[in-house]
Amino acid sequence: MSNTLSYPELAALLQARAGVSVEPSALEQPGAQFDEFGVDSLGLLGIVGELENRHGLKVTSGAESAKSPAEFLELVNASLSAKAGA
């Protein structure tokens, strides 16, 4: 696994942790919002937990309340690269 979270990986996590089936390309659409896919904050919190356990790091707080996939990826990947650079 690469050290950044990609849209396909996010789609897989949404499926596993939030029970939501969504195409990576739909997540990537400009203006895409979690709301429209039926992803709630508890679902995102579960994904944050999974990523933290997987990578052994703390994801920037606020990621679980991100409104859009783009914002979520940005916050998570900032945490991942901060760890890689540390």
Partner: protein
């Protein structure tokens, strides 16, 4: 039942069943009428080596085909059953909620144990791997209120919502609570109860109940009102009903299946079965008073039928106390001996059977029970034809709640 706004009456327009003897009201009623017993060895993973052997397990239920995965990942089996039963009830009633009136539909459920299977899985993560491995849905999935919340969210039902936690008898109390919401102005309430107590942690909890049957053989596990009574076999599942204001139901051309005519509830203390005699008799009197009917008008009693000798005796005496001489004649039945007791779901299955019995003109029998050792006209063996206008459903909980609900048949369309 008693309403604050004049003329508003709660009626049953839809039945949704997820029961050990059938999913859907038709399958459930066919098996209930035939007196089929589906009690069997518990086969669920992690449950087969415990001293509690016999129960009623829901068969032929695929959560994935009934419920969107988004709801499945965040809910326990008890909520899967409740959501599926709610869908069935709404469909059975031919009810299409008006998207412009989201506050016109409420949800009320009762729950006895919540989501034990989901909770166990997450607690194993906690102790096995640590707090960071507990999923956030644990915060809602185990909780008694989960089914009400998820049915409300899924259906967009934003009217009065509630959860009744009053023991097994809470199944009847939830219907009364829903009827009060209808009396205060809500047009429809999805109401009922479903349970899922057949998971390892939940099973171990039940081993602490002296009333649970540890019999090895299915046909001997649950024999209320007999000399061989040795406790009750538990079950999973339950039923949800669509209750509506009678006028609202008639306006949309719905079939009024039954009226919720009266309800009474009392409390006499955990496992104090002798005292439950007075409590149950009082609940019956309150319910009959509210329904404004005399005991002679009751055509069938769906008994609580706990299967514990002291409790069975108390129930027979409570009926005699409340009914007087009519107690010797009124037919009593306990179809739950064929399915087991699904805690709060049990009285809901009885209410469903009562509605269907009145519609069909049939008294369903008490499976496995033959020789009755109390003064009760228990329907055993085969179903019997009977003209039924009024049914009384009784329920008691292990923690001391006693409830009675009077149902009257709807007008024939």
């Amino acid at each position: 039942m008693t309403s604050r706004q004049q003329g508003r009456r709660a009626v049953v327009t839809g039945l949704g069943v997820v029961a050990p003897n059938g999913v859907g009201a038709d399958a459930f009623w066919k098996a209930t009428r035939q007196g089929v017993s589906v009690l069997d060895r518990i086969s669920r993973e992690g449950c087969t080596e415990l001293p509690l052997r016999i129960a009623g397990q829901v068969q032929d239920f695929e959560p994935q085909s009934a419920i969107d995965n988004r709801y499945l990942v965040q809910t326990d089996r008890f909520t899967h059953y409740a959501m599926a039963a709610a869908d069935l009830a709404v469909a059975d009633a031919g009810f299409r909620p008006d998207a412009e009136q989201p506050f016109a539909v409420g949800v009320v459920t009762a729950a006895g144990s919540g989501g034990g299977e989901f909770g166990q899985r997450e607690l194993q993560q906690l102790w096995g791997q640590g707090p960071k491995f507990v999923g956030p849905y644990q915060s809602i999935a185990w909780f008694y209120a989960a089914s009400t919340g998820q049915i409300s969210i899924r259906g967009g039902y934003k009217g009065p919502c509630g959860v009744v936690a009053s023991d097994e008898a809470g199944g009847l109390d939830a219907l009364a609570h829903a009827a009060r919401a209808i009396g205060r102005g809500t047009d429809a309430v999805v109401a009922g109860a479903a349970e899922a107590p057949l998971a390892p942690y939940s099973m171990v909890c039940q081993l602490g109940y002296p009333e649970v049957s540890l019999a090895e053989r299915a046909e001997e596990a649950y024999l209320p009102f007999t000399a061989k009574a040795c406790g009750f076999a538990p079950a999973e599942g339950g039923a949800m009903l669509l209750l509506e204001d009678e006028q609202a139901a008639l306006r949309r051309g719905a079939n009024v299946r039954a009226h919720l005519a009266g309800h009474g509830a009392t409390f006499t203390g955990a496992s104090r079965w002798e005292e439950s005699r007075d409590g149950l008799a009082a609940a019956i009197r309150i319910a009959l008073d509210e329904a404004r009917i005399a005991p002679e008008e009751v055509d069938v009693v769906f008994a609580d039928a706990l299967g514990v000798p002291a409790a069975d005796r108390a129930e027979a005496l409570a009926l005699a106390d409340a009914f007087g001489p009519a107690a010797e004649r009124v037919p009593v039945t306990a179809p739950k001996t064929g399915t087991g007791r699904a805690y709060c779901g049990a009285p809901l299955l009885d209410v469903t059977a009562a509605v269907l019995a009145m519609e069909d003109g049939v008294l369903p029998p008490t499976p496995n029970v033959t020789e009755v050792c109390h003064d009760l006209a228990l329907v055993t063996g085969r179903a019997r034809p009977a003209e039924l206008h009024t049914a009384l459903v009784l329920s008691r909980g292990l923690m001391g709640s006693n409830s009675a609900l009077v149902l009257r048949r709807g007008e024939r369309p």
